[in-house]
């Protein structure tokens, strides 16, 4: 297809990608190197972007009739996308770089025996600790409730994350809870309010709050926040909690309404090409799905993310699991009642 660039765009128009801000190929061609090379100078003709800031926003947009070609949701939403008929199965034979994708990550994108999602970036969700300010080092998610940190904790204003983290801290299975356990989790989150200084809403707050000195434990931070704060010279650590770090993975899918398949497959193949994946790892401190990229990644990133131990990734990390509509609704209700509590 890269040999015949003139026929694809004229036949079906530019590829419309529903994307997070920060990955658009027009601004960041290095994350889709082969695609950028093939369409150099003509990128604006072949690809267009529509942005979203939260998964919920993207899902709402699509359910309200917005039509895009390529989608980029994160894995706890993947089952919902499949069940709602928003995505079509991906023919992995059309992706020349597919064999490099780690099988554990690829498996996460499979539903009913079909590959619906191409996993692209993954990362951790853990606690950033100000080593110089805490009197005792925390060792577990459960330590967020420790009185020693009263007024110096910040967690993400996100229903799913709050629920999962609390379930882990209480020794429960976040994705299989009874009504009593859900009530227990809700009470625990209400108790946590005494320790919480503020809920952070935007990831830039997660970069800033630990540096103010008011927040000693910032929970649900992704590893890029840790890397940034540490590079600014602060004495911080990125916790390896007893219960395990949480993990997330996001990936690309082709919308069920899309006819722009040639371009879509080209983009996806370029996304998982080794040089693209290495650029992603080096620039954003993110994990990536194609392990062939490993030799091209900075040592610092490999060490910090344990990129050479991806075989054990799913064992030592608690990855978020896809949620059904009922589960998501339950977690949202609990979170809202926690927030409403005086």
């Amino acid at each position: 297809m890269a040999d015949e660039p003139t026929s694809a765009p004229e036949a079906s128009g530019p590829l419309l990608v529903l994307e997070w801000s920060g990955y658009e190929a027009t601004e960041y061609p290095q994350f889709f190197q082969p695609f950028a090379d093939a369409y150099e100078g003509r990128m604006d003709e072949v690809i267009e972007y529509s942005f979203f800031a939260e998964d919920a926003e993207a899902y709402t947009k699509l359910q309200s009739g917005f039509e895009a070609d390529v989608l980029h949701p994160c894995n706890s939403w993947w089952s919902l996308y499949v069940d709602s008929g928003l995505v079509q199965p991906i023919d992995t034979a059309r992706l020349s770089n597919w064999d490099g994708v780690h099988p554990d990550l690829a498996a996460m994108g499979q539903f009913s025996g079909e590959q619906y999602f191409v996993p692209w970036e993954w990362g951790y969700d853990s606690i950033i600790v100000r080593n110089d300010l805490v009197t005792e080092m925390p060792t577990a998610w459960a330590d967020l409730w420790n009185d020693a940190y009263a007024g110096h904790v910040s967690i993400w204003d996100n229903a799913e994350t709050a629920f999962v983290m609390t379930a882990l801290a209480q020794g429960l299975d976040p994705w299989n809870t009874t009504a009593e356990e859900q009530e227990q989790i809700k009470q625990a989150l209400i108790e946590l309010k005494a320790n919480v200084l503020t809920y952070w809403a935007d990831y830039t707050e997660s970069y800033e709050l630990p540096t103010t000195g008011d927040v000693w434990l910032l929970a649900n931070a992704w590893q890029d926040a840790y890397a940034y704060i540490e590079s600014e010279g602060y004495d911080v650590s990125y916790l390896q909690p007893e219960e395990g770090r949480l993990g997330w993975v996001c990936g690309y899918a082709i919308s069920s309404t899309s006819n722009n398949l040639d371009l879509a497959y080209e983009l996806l193949d370029a996304a998982i090409a080794p040089e693209s994946m290495a650029a992603l790892g080096n620039e954003y401190w993110y994990g990536f799905s194609n392990m062939d990229a490993l030799p091209m990644v900075d040592e610092y990133v490999v060490d910090f993310m344990n990129l050479d131990e991806v075989d054990t990734l799913t064992d030592r990390t608690v990855f978020y699991r896809p949620l059904s509509e009922e589960q998501r609704s339950m977690m949202s209700s609990i979170w809202d009642e926690v927030k409403a509590a005086p």
Binding site: T60, Q63, D157, S332, S333, W335, A340
Partner: protein, 273 residues
């Protein structure tokens, strides 16, 4: 239908009607959205935490409105009676902050009230407190302070307008009858400016009940207001029907007391105060 009525219907009535229609849907999208149900109402009426949050938010809004009026009144009074030729300049100076981004003004308060902020530094240098940390930030007080600050210019205007409308001859009459300045204020100025004061109060109270930006930025876990939850329902929980019921509850909860209140105001005017 005359153009103004058409405008009103399209921009005011239709959105509210759409919202009310949403309250009866079983879900936000797809199949569920087509089904009629009263479950959302049942869910809200059974949800005591949400209802008490609405009450608390109305309480916060009332405090904000009251403080705004009390603090704006001297400003309006000065503009009306003492500013003279400089009044237009002063009025513009008061309004100018409102031209900057709302978000910027809220964030400015975050800096003032924060742990390394102006307030703490001043108090520490006066020897009043050593390490206050984030005492003034991330709580309901911070929300109230920030909101009052934002609203004062908007409240000063209706009060100023009401004061301007008072016949100057009435003050002369009061003086001639032997009233001291403070008495004249209480018996003549204040009652006559009351419609402006009430207008200013409602002007602040109504939007503040549903406020969510300021609580999200400076409210912390205890400063959350009703608007935050409505936002959650629409944006994160994807539960538009529930969000619509909550919005309707707030609309009715605010509208009914105001309708009653406006009856009262008309009565006092009739009484010839």
């Amino acid at each position: 239908m005359a153009p103004p009525s058409l405008w009103l219907v399209l921009l005011l009535v239709m959105p509210v009607v759409t919202m009310v229609l949403f309250t009866f849907r079983a879900g936000s999208f797809g199949q569920a959205a087509q089904q009629f149900t009263l479950n959302n109402y049942a869910a809200f009426l059974q949800n005591q935490p949400f209802q008490s949050l609405l009450a608390r938010s109305a309480g916060v809004a009332a405090i904000v409105a009251l403080l705004s009026v009390v603090l704006a009144y001297p400003v309006a009074y000065y503009l009306s009676f003492s500013a003279g030729s400089r009044r237009f300049t002063l009025l513009t100076l008061i309004i100018i902050p409102a031209w900057t981004s709302y978000l910027l003004r809220v964030l400015a308060w975050k800096i003032i009230l924060g742990s390394g902020g102006v307030l703490n530094t001043v108090l520490a240098s006066l020897g009043l407190a050593a390490d206050l940390g984030s005492l003034f930030l991330y709580n309901r007080t911070a929300v109230i302070i920030t909101l009052v600050y934002t609203w004062i210019p908007f409240v000063a205007l209706p009060i100023y307008a009401a004061l301007e409308r008072i016949e100057p001859s009435l003050f002369e009459a009061a003086r001639d009858l032997g009233a001291r300045p403070w008495n004249a204020f209480l018996r003549v100025t204040l009652p006559l400016s009351l419609p402006g004061v009430i207008a200013g109060f409602l002007f602040v109270f109504i939007p503040t009940v549903g406020e969510y930006v300021t609580p999200a930025l400076v409210g912390g876990p205890r400063g959350i207001m009703y608007g935050n939850l409505v936002q959650d329902q629409f944006l994160n929980a994807l539960n538009w029907p529930m969000g619509s019921v909550m919005s309707l509850a707030m609309l009715l909860g605010v509208l009914l007391p105001i309708l009653l209140f406006s009856r009262f105001v008309r009565l006092t005017e009739l009484a010839g105060l």
